[in-house]
Symmetry: D2
Subunit: 287 residues, 4 copies
């Protein structure tokens, strides 16, 4: 809506009485108008507290740097908060990694083009040349970074070089290479993958084949943050679609791709709007 | 969870900066531990603000009457709030009205019996004798109040007499009589009906027949507060189920009854947990 | 799958014993291998019978013209069948009509491009120039046919001229002009529209606004064949998505567009695969 | 519908041209009126063929025994069919096994009582006394068969004794004992279990706890035939419901029980209506 004036605060801290009052007081006293507030506690007695605050900045009586410093000292320190302030006017820089399947990628680019994904799509990186034209038609740079089994480290180094420390979030839109722990560790809770099954069912390769073999009656897709453990990262969003004995593996793949598109688009949207907080390999999703 | 110590506050007022801070401060300062907070504004500039607060009472420094008086004077008056405090330890008194279909009624009684519906089910009132045994098996009194076309007023008077001003919420679990405006006006936003269609499609009688004739591919059910306008009251919850050309009207009725059960159970649960606020013939549902 | 060798038969006739035997005998005796068979009767006693047969043609002992003539004389005449044979190798010629919204159009073109829509997309016709580039990027001709209130007949004549009697199916992918009865009558059960509501709720203009005002908890979309009565034609497919009080009209529109895309894509796919039979303003959908 | 006159034929055999014609001819020639026909082939070239035929018996020109013998000799033998004829007028005898949870059991009994489950519910067997009153209120015998770790074989022998070879289908409505292979092997494809997860996720004990720990965004339930491998049998039906970080393990359990009820009811209904054929640890479900 008011992209120029919207700010968001994400908080995680040990739960204690008074946090909501302290935070809302602080922002009220400094002229912020709170337009959304979500909070959650794993346990009011000794649990972990999470909060997302969306507010409008026009009447703030502090500059952004001062606001952050004051909040840090006056509120966050008192409650031992981990916190992050972000401004809709400074959209996250996003890189999309893809191999050959275009469905998840095009869904993101199409939503981005029409203004529904509030990101700065800096580039698409692929280990294959196939999707160059499709990507460049959106005015987005396409970077080819081939990956070979023996030169994975080099390929990742090349990607980091392209990113130049400016990338805030990486989306794996059916990128068929496994990233190394070294790479993943540089972007904690900032790499989003779409896995083509309803995790934890059917981890690893060929999930549609696995689903077919098991004879499930629903297939699904899972968007999750990437961690060093393959397909084990915190789940952001999942959805399913009904299938039957009539569907071949190819049918499952085609049907599943529709779910992959939807699920990934939701997860990326929520991440960009600072709606997701990771906690102990799970997500708190204020969606 | 902690039924003895949980209290809930529902607020509606003109939106202004500072409401969240004022409310959370008040409860924090008086020793309440906030365990859930939902808020919504139709428009931060001049709209209407809604809030639901759930808190624990053990460390309150005020008695309930004093808490309510103090909150009313110190906070509510300043923001022109309409508000309501309720205590989980004082469950709402509920009357269920039913005719001959048992599905919606039994779903409620079964959930109530296992402790999932936090109400005091005072009685079931019916215009037919059929369901007496089924109801009494749950230990709930069954009151027969026949209704004839010419004596509707007498029947309603008889019901009001049974209720003796002690009933907080009335659930129409497929009660096939239309209540008069006089009756409805006594219980604003406190009579919940289940309509057997996805409103506003198929208002009035025979919605499954109407759905069949129109050839819809999904049928649904709608729980709504009853107003003087038939089937026009604020919608609390809706859901649908897929159907096909193979289904007869009888099939639609059987399938639809499953949805009616689910939708009504959710709506009643939310009402009992003070999750619904009515505003301009719509509901704000903090579900 | 085997696009070159797949044929499909659609039948509608008065139900009588022996139809399935007669049809399956005929095709078996002439060397067709039946790969799918769906049938439905509104009532085995005096109702209407519907059947869809999919078979493989390689071992047919008759040429196509002879097959059709022989079936017509030997089987169809006996049971007073309305019937239609089609061959996957001769995909239907499709024209897509669109105004300014691109979502439904692009969904169809994208699925067509990847081979999931078995049609020959002959052209996109629009009353606005906006989507020319997007369409031409798919290699599909874009025809601009402006429509003014006073010259609707001329515009439709211009479209018919473009179609040159070669178009088998017309898809209204959010085409915001109402077609005249004259035009509609030329394409009975062959014009598919996507309406942006869960019909019969919210007919006419502004359904998302209507849905917002009514406060429904699910919004939907409906694909239907176009008849002379606006929004009253036989429903092919519908689906819904959950919404809440937090959603603005703009949110409903954005969420709804996802459902429009899905529902229209399914309806068009089924039509192209000869899975839909219209009967008394309803559809039999062998999907 | 016409319970007295409805018969059903289930077939499995190697696929070959002419099966549909042969079967439909046979029944047509002997006066059966086919009211439903479903068929499926894993592969028209050398695959397995499945068929379900529903027909009306009033005008049959053969007695049941003769019909079966003639069909076996004239049709089934020629195509090497495994087949089964059943008559709606002879409902399957069903035993329900349960431990302490009542939700799945009561859902079945309630549907059965209102005539939606076409079975003869012979008895409920439990290893606990808790649900006796609830069951006997439906007029169904309740048999207590305690199970101890050391005397499982005796308990199963006691159950077999109760069944006296008259039970056609056994439903495990949250029966918390693992049956031995010996027992399971006596009822191939005739024991239906409801597992409280979306299999193959979360096999074994405590699936709601497992789901909570993994942080999934949907939980589910799975009805499957019981085989010697725990939770690995052919899946009949599955469904899911959306959950969030706000849900505790207890919440997941409560929400999941609603899905368990629905999924088990569907699976049992389809089994009773002879809609399920098992093939290579998967099911063909003509539902």
């Amino acid at each position: 809506m008011h992209a120029e004036t919207t700010a968001r605060l994400l908080i995680r801290c040990p739960d204690k009485p008074g946090i909501v009052a302290a935070v809302s007081n602080f922002f009220y006293n400094h002229g912020a108008n709170i337009t959304a507030l979500d909070q959650y506690s794993t346990d009011p007695e000794g649990g972990t507290f999470f909060m997302r605050l969306e507010f409008q900045t026009p009447h703030l009586d502090l500059s952004r740097p001062l606001l952050e410093r004051t909040f840090g000292e006056a509120v966050a320190a008192r409650y031992a908060m981990e916190w992050r302030l972000s401004y809709a006017a400074e959209p996250k820089k996003m890189a999309i990694l893809v191999s050959k399947y275009d469905h998840a990628l095009l869904e993101l680019l199409w939503r981005w083009q029409r203004g529904d994904l509030h990101a700065d799509v800096a580039m698409v990186v692929s280990n294959h040349p196939d999707l160059r034209d499709a990507v460049e038609a959106f005015g987005v740079p396409y970077r080819l970074v081939p990956v070979t089994r023996d030169a994975k480290a080099e390929a990742e180094a090349q990607m980091l070089d392209l990113f130049q420390d400016t990338i805030d979030v990486i989306v794996l839109a059916r990128y068929m290479q496994i990233l190394t722990s070294d790479f993943v560790d540089r972007y904690p809770d900032r790499i989003i993958n779409i896995h083509h099954s309803f995790l934890p069912s059917f981890v690893g390769a060929g999930p549609y084949r696995q689903a077919y073999d098991r004879g499930v009656k629903l297939i699904g897709a899972t968007a999750h943050y990437v961690t060093a453990d393959l397909d084990q990262g915190p789940i952001i969003e999942q959805d399913v679609i009904r299938v039957s004995h009539r569907h071949t593996v190819a049918d499952l793949k085609a049907l599943g791709q529709d779910i992959e598109r939807t699920v990934l688009a939701r997860a990326v949207t929520w991440h960009l709007e600072d709606r997701i907080i990771v906690h102990e390999n799970k997500t708190v999703a204020f969606s």
